[in-house]
Subunit: 195 residues, 2 copies
Amino acid sequence: MEERRREILAAAGRVFARKGFERSTTAEIAREAGVAEGTIFRYFPTKRDLLVSVVASLVMESLPALLERIETGTIEDAIKDILRNRLDLIKENAPLLKLFFAEALFREDLREKFIEEVVLRATARAEAFYRQQQEQGNLRPLNPQIAIRCLMGMLGIFVIWKEFLGGDKYVRFDEEEVLETITTIYLDGVRDRGR
Amino acid sequence: MEERRREILAAAGRVFARKGFERSTTAEIAREAGVAEGTIFRYFPTKRDLLVSVVASLVMESLPALLERIETGTIEDAIKDILRNRLDLIKENAPLLKLFFAEALFREDLREKFIEEVVLRATARAEAFYRQQQEQGNLRPLNPQIAIRCLMGMLGIFVIWKEFLGGDKYVRFDEEEVLETITTIYLDGVRDRGR
DNA sequence: CTAAATTATGAGTGAGCACTCACTAAAATT
DNA sequence: AATTTTAGTGAGTGCTCACTCATAATTTAG
C-alpha cells in the first residue's frame, strides 16, 4: 500500500533529523513507523535509498513554494516579504534541511542533486529579480550572483544559528528585528552618513 | 613519544576531513599514520577522543589568530582586511572546519564547546569593534550582535559554497570581487541613490 | 468458504568495525 | 650483560546493524 510507504518515509525523516543518517538504525525507524524492520525493505531496497527518497520528497514538495511569490511594491517590502516567506518555509523543514545539509557535506551525489535542483534554480530566480530591479535603476550595478548570495548569507547565518546549532540557548534574536536589520543593511549599509 | 601522538592526530584529521567521522575507520587512520591499529589506542582511549582532540588542537591553534589583528585606517580597509585574514585562516583549516561543522550539527557536546570557545568569543570581539566604531559616529546605531552576524553570514556563505560544498564546479567567484562587493554592500547597501 | 496472491513479520545472518590483549622490539636502568 | 620498563603490534573478539528469508497474517479472487 502507498500509505505505508509514506508512513515509513515520514518516520525515517523524523529519525534521521533527530540523529543524523549514520546514527539512525533501521530498527528505530521501524519502531517509529510502527512496522517490522523487514517491512522497510519491501518498500526501500537500502537504507541509503530511504535517505534519498526522504530528501527527494522534501525537495519536490518545497521547491515550488521556494520559487514563487516575488512580490511587488517597494523594494523594502519585496525583500522583507521574500525573507519572511523563505524563513517560514525553512523553519517548517528545518530538521530535514539540517540532515540534508549535514549529509551533503560528505556525499557528492546528494550534494549534486541538491545544488542542481534547489540552489541553482533558486539563485537563478533571485538573480533575475535583482537584474530586473537593476534595470529599473533601483539597485546598484553589482554582480547579481554575488549580491544575491550576500542576502542569502545574511539570512542563512541566522537560520543556521537558530535552527541548526540551537544557538537560542546562547543568544536569542527577535525575528522582526533581524529581518528589519538585514533589510536595512542590505539596502543602505551600515555606514553612518550623518543624519 | 609525543611525536607519535601528533602524527596520529594529523592522520586522523586528514581521514576525518576526507570521509567524515562515522565513515572513517580506525584501521584507515592507522594506515594513514603508518602505525598499527592498536597503537592508536595507546594514545587515545576511543575514536571519539580522537575527534575531540583533533578539534581541540584546531581550536587552540587557530583561535588566537582569529581574535587578533583588528586593523586601523578607514573602515573599508579595516573590514576588507578582517575579511581577508579570516578567509585565509578559514581556507587553511577548511577540511577540519567542515568536519567539525558536520559533527556539531548532531552532537550537543561538540557544539557547545565550539560555540562557547570560538563563536561567542569571536563575535564578542567583533561586536566590540562595531560598538567602538558606532561611538565614533562611523557606523549606524544598529544592534551590533545582528550587524556583525550579517557580515559573517555574507562571508560565510561564500566559504560554505566553495570550501564545504565544492560549488566552484557550478559557479566560480573571483575572490577579490567578492570581498569588494561584500564590503560595498555592507557599508553602503545595494540601493541605487542615483549618482 | 477456500485457494491463491499479496503484504507483513522478526529471528537470524554475515560483514564491518572499535577496541583488547598476549606478545615482541626497543630503550632505559642496573 | 642482564633485567626491567616502555612502546608498538596485529590477530582476535564481541557487538552493532543493515539486510534476508522462511513463515504468518491479511487481502483478493473464484
